[in-house]
């Protein structure tokens, strides 16, 4: 049980937290051994030093034998520290092969030795995180630089220090967010910190000043990273920041291959933008998960499918190009189903156009799609066609979309003769749709039915296939102005679309109707919650819960709905922190 650390915000594996000593210290925290800070007591080598008495305002590391992550496993076992049972804040060395239990803080031992070894570093993070409680703090010692610290935090470092920045100063290296330079080679110093002001004033060779600059840069970078975590945009930042060095690029790419590690920590819905500014954006959890859920949780009942290119404006249907197509289709629109083809999202069914991140992403547009994009999007399209039972597929697309459709290698009719919204193209589209409608005579779906379907598909997407049918009554009523709409059954409100988050917000009745007792449930102890549910109050929770999910709260005294603030695993394992933000609760009779 962790008593001296608490996680307060998350963005993927990255967290903002609080060390519960000295009135609370926010993490990611920059420890400063170089200036003699004593927050962490370093017991030193146990062959030379005696055990230390812990105090309540310091994290104590008892004397140890330090190893590096890549040494022989047998050595690790030979020298492993004892399990911790301490009343005062405790820290202990952790090795990827062995994590003892009971500490408030884990220190990756000897991680300095694998600077530049992307694979070993990633492995260390994952192993230690997977084998320790989610609400323990992770200290990555003597490794942080302004250049790499964002990736360390992205991978879940909570504490870093100024040890390497100081040593580099004594090696004459001037650190920046973008790399290091021998200070003697710099004609001017690209910084305005105190130390640089003094150095420009002539004290250039003083390593203490250089160390102060390096420390200031590290502190700034950590501060920036916190902003990115709070804004839910750290991923965008590391996609940028990893370009500093090949090993950092490799680190991000390898991390993306560790999908489970990232996915289990990545919010499902949120209000931040998703910027796709690099090839790696396509491998983001949000993008892959959307495609996964589309395969697993979505199915269409239509006979005729129309493929439409994406628009810069979101939701797509508010864009000029989509409005032109929708207007042209007119009454025929009720006979068709629409999907939007887009990089990097792949395929977005019209019914899901409000879902995160389909309505939240922005991407660099050049008119050229690279091979990875084509492969990915055409694969998504092929899967979508294969997983549904359309009798006819009409591709109303232009430019590179044409090739992507062709690459999907499924039978389809192309209707656009140039720009999709040109009069000629639209005429061809409508003519073709008319023809197919006459031939296939599909069931029409009027606008009210379309809206109900949207709720149904969104519920399926969020809570699993079939939940939409449970949630949405045949005679459901949709009120409100697109996209802020609410679903009613008679006068009973069931849920609302929250366009900012790209998800449904359930009422208690909505959750009840979906029978969320086996999925997306959070079982709590015997109390009447108010405002929020803290982790220690959680008995059990669906492990598929992610931050951002609407969850059903089940307790002996109360049931309710709320938004998950942490993953299901974290709710169960953590001993601190807000698990669920409550929205509706009622006592159990």
């Amino acid at each position: 049980m962790t008593r001296f650390f608490e996680v307060t915000a998350r963005d993927g594996p990255a967290r903002i937290g609080k060390l519960l000593v000295r009135g609370g210290l926010e993490t990611p925290y920059l420890l400063s051994p170089a200036t003699g800070e004593d927050l962490v007591v370093n017991g030193g080598n146990k062959w030379l030093h005696s055990p230390v008495t812990g105090t309540v305002e310091q994290f104590t590391v008892q004397p140890y034998v330090g190893l590096t992550p890549k040494v022989n496993e047998d050595l690790v076992r030979l020298y492993q520290p004892a399990d911790i049972a301490s009343d005062t804040p405790s820290a202990t060395l952790a090795h990827p092969d062995k994590v003892v239990s009971g500490a408030d803080m884990y220190v990756i031992s000897g991680v300095r030795s694998i600077e530049g070894d992307s694979r070993a570093l990633l492995h260390s993070f994952i192993q230690i995180r997977n084998n320790s409680k989610p609400d323990t703090a992770l200290y990555v010692p003597a490794l942080a630089t302004p250049e790499n610290v964002s990736l360390l935090i992205y991978l879940s470092a909570d504490i870093v220090d100024d040890v390497l920045t100081t040593i580099k100063a004594y090696q004459g290296l001037y650190l920046t967010q973008d790399g290091e330079y021998p200070v003697k080679d710099l004609a001017e110093l690209p910084c305005t910190c105190d130390a640089c002001t003094k150095m420009t004033g002539g004290q250039k060779s003083d390593p203490e000043l250089l160390a102060a600059h390096n420390r200031a840069k590290l502190r700034e970078e950590i501060s920036r990273v916190k902003i990115h975590i709070r804004n839910g945009m750290l991923r965008e930042y590391v996609e940028k920041q990893c370009r500093s060095k090949p090993w950092l690029t490799a680190l991000l790419r390898l991390a993306d291959a560790e999908y489970t590690y990232l996915e289990s920590r990545t919010p499902t819905y949120r209000s931040s933008e998703l910027l796709a500014c690099s090839a790696e954006s396509q491998n983001r959890v949000e993008v892959r998960r959307f495609a996964d859920r589309l395969r697993q949780r979505f199915s269409s009942d239509g006979k005729i499918l129309i493929i439409i290119p994406c628009s810069a404006r979101k939701p797509y249907s508010t864009s000029q190009s989509h409005m032109a197509i929708i207007n042209a289709l007119g009454k025929y629109r009720r006979y068709v189903r629409e999907i939007i083809l887009t990089s990097p999202m792949g395929v977005v069914p019209r019914e899901l156009e409000l879902v995160y991140p389909a309505a939240h992403y922005d991407v660099a547009v050049t008119g050229v799609w690279d091979l990875e994009e084509r492969h990915w999007v055409s694969g998504c399209l092929r899967d979508f066609i294969d997983n549904n039972r359309f009798e006819r597929v009409i591709a109303h697309v232009e430019g590179p979309y044409v090739e992507v459709c062709a690459q999907a290698d499924r039978e389809m009719i192309f209707t656009s003769t140039g720009k999709v919204s040109s009069d000629e193209s639209l005429r061809a589209l409508v003519d073709q749709v008319k023809l197919v409608v006459d031939e296939l005579a599909p069931q029409p779906r009027n606008f009210e039915q379309y809206l109900l379907d949207m709720f149904r598909k969104m519920a399926d997407y969020e809570f699993g296939k079939g939940r939409g049918d449970l949630l949405v009554p045949q005679k459901g009523i949709v009120k409100g102005k697109f996209p802020r709409m609410t679903l009613f059954d008679g006068r009973e409100q069931l849920c609302t679309i929250n366009p900012a988050y790209g998800s449904l917000t359930l009422t208690l009745e909505g959750a009840r109707r979906m029978k969320l007792t086996d999925q997306y449930f959070v079982e709590i102890t015997d109390f009447m919650p108010r405002g929020s549910i803290l982790a220690p109050g959680v008995v059990n929770a669906d492990p598929q819960i992610r931050p951002g999910d609407d969850v059903f709260i089940i307790g002996k005294k109360a049931i309710g709905v709320g938004r998950a603030k942490m993953s299901g695993r974290e709710m169960v394992e953590a001993s601190r922190g807000m698990a669920v933000e409550l929205k509706h609760v009622e006592p159990v009779k």
Partner: protein, 338 residues
């Protein structure tokens, strides 16, 4: 699994030097201090069946087991080895090593040992034999003493800290074992030479430095000569494996200089240190610019015991070394600077 087991695994990857069983593993000459005077020294390393302790795993930094013969040499082989070098010895100090203990009868049978010692006694001013302390028994020492006039027993004490000797070095004996051996030697009128090991694995530079200062002070009570080996990375050792994993850095030359400065004049012993492989990544080194100057000064000090040669040393990297001493603890297990 014990550290010995780990070492045994490690040794499997070690390449054995193949040599004729009638050749010595190595022979060279140098200069050493004898009664305060620089004197020619001869070093002979015999190929034996190998250190019994090393064959069970042995010490973490020791690569000499590679010098053991592929097949155990016969007594005749050993004598042939001796003869192949003995004519080159006219006077001075003779230092006898095996890859283990010269006094281990398993390595060097008693008759061979006696023959070698008594023959050496004809030319050498002083003979130093290296052995683990368990072989420094009344019986062996009195036997040896019979063949040679001036004999010194050298033992790889490495450190006076039992924790380090056992857990970092895997030496398998205690400080009191060394003390007992030195007392046996003394009782027979022999002198003792202690080899110390600067920076065994898993220690920070600072801890290594402090340990060495303490060890010199402790050993000097029993050893007339103290030779500080600066750990270098020998192929096939655990230290080698750690070095490859960037888990080990040989000591800074600044550190041995600091040790010598701190103990100089505080003991009655002669203190020497031969900076083997200095300036290489695998040997003791500073920044690359000052290494050769430092190595020279250390050799000079060893021959002269003149501390002023060390006091003059300086380099820009000093502050980096000092900072490393100060902060290396904070890597929690790896070198901070390589």
């Amino acid at each position: 699994m014990t550290l010995s087991d780990i070492m045994k695994e490690q040794r499997k990857r070690q390449k054995i030097n193949e040599k004729s069983p009638t050749e010595v593993a190595a022979y060279w000459t140098g200069e050493d201090l004898l009664d305060g005077m620089p004197t020619k020294s001869h070093t002979i390393i015999f190929q034996t069946r190998g250190c019994y302790w090393g064959l069970r795993g042995g010490c973490t930094m020791c690569g000499y087991i590679a010098d053991a013969a592929a097949r155990p040499p016969t007594p005749e082989d050993l004598l042939a080895q001796f003869e192949s070098v003995s004519r080159r010895i006219d006077h001075g100090i003779v230092k006898i090593f095996t890859s283990g203990s010269f006094f281990d009868p398993g390595e060097v049978p008693e008759p061979v040992r006696d023959k070698i010692l008594s023959e050496l006694n004809l030319y050498a001013d002083k003979v130093i034999v290296e052995t683990r302390p368990e072989f420094v028994t009344d019986k062996i020492v009195s036997a040896a003493k019979m063949h040679v006039d001036r004999l010194e027993i050298a033992t790889g004490l490495e450190t006076s800290n039992d924790n380090i000797r056992l857990n970092s070095i895997n030496k398998g004996f205690l400080f009191k074992d060394f003390v007992r051996a030195a007392e046996v030697a003394k009782a027979h009128g022999l002198t003792t030479k202690a080899y110390l090991m600067m920076k065994p694995p898993f220690l920070t530079e600072k801890d290594a430095l402090e340990d060495m200062v303490q060890s010199v002070m402790d050993a000097s009570k029993y050893a007339e000569t103290i030779s500080i080996n600066l750990c270098n990375v020998q192929r096939g050792t655990l230290v080698d494996e750690l070095f490859y994993r960037k888990a080990y850095r040989p000591p800074w030359l600044w550190s041995i200089v600091e040790v010598l400065k701190r103990v100089h004049g505080k003991t009655g012993s002669v203190i020497t240190s031969d900076p083997l492989a200095a300036g290489q990544n695998r040997g003791p080194h500073n920044c690359g610019k000052c290494d050769y100057e430092f190595a020279d000064a250390l050799r000079k000090y060893s021959l002269t015991q003149d501390i002023s040669v060390l006091n003059q040393l300086n380099c820009d990297c000093k502050s980096l070394w000092q900072k490393t001493l100060e902060l290396e603890d904070w890597t929690f297990g790896s070198p901070l600077v390589y």
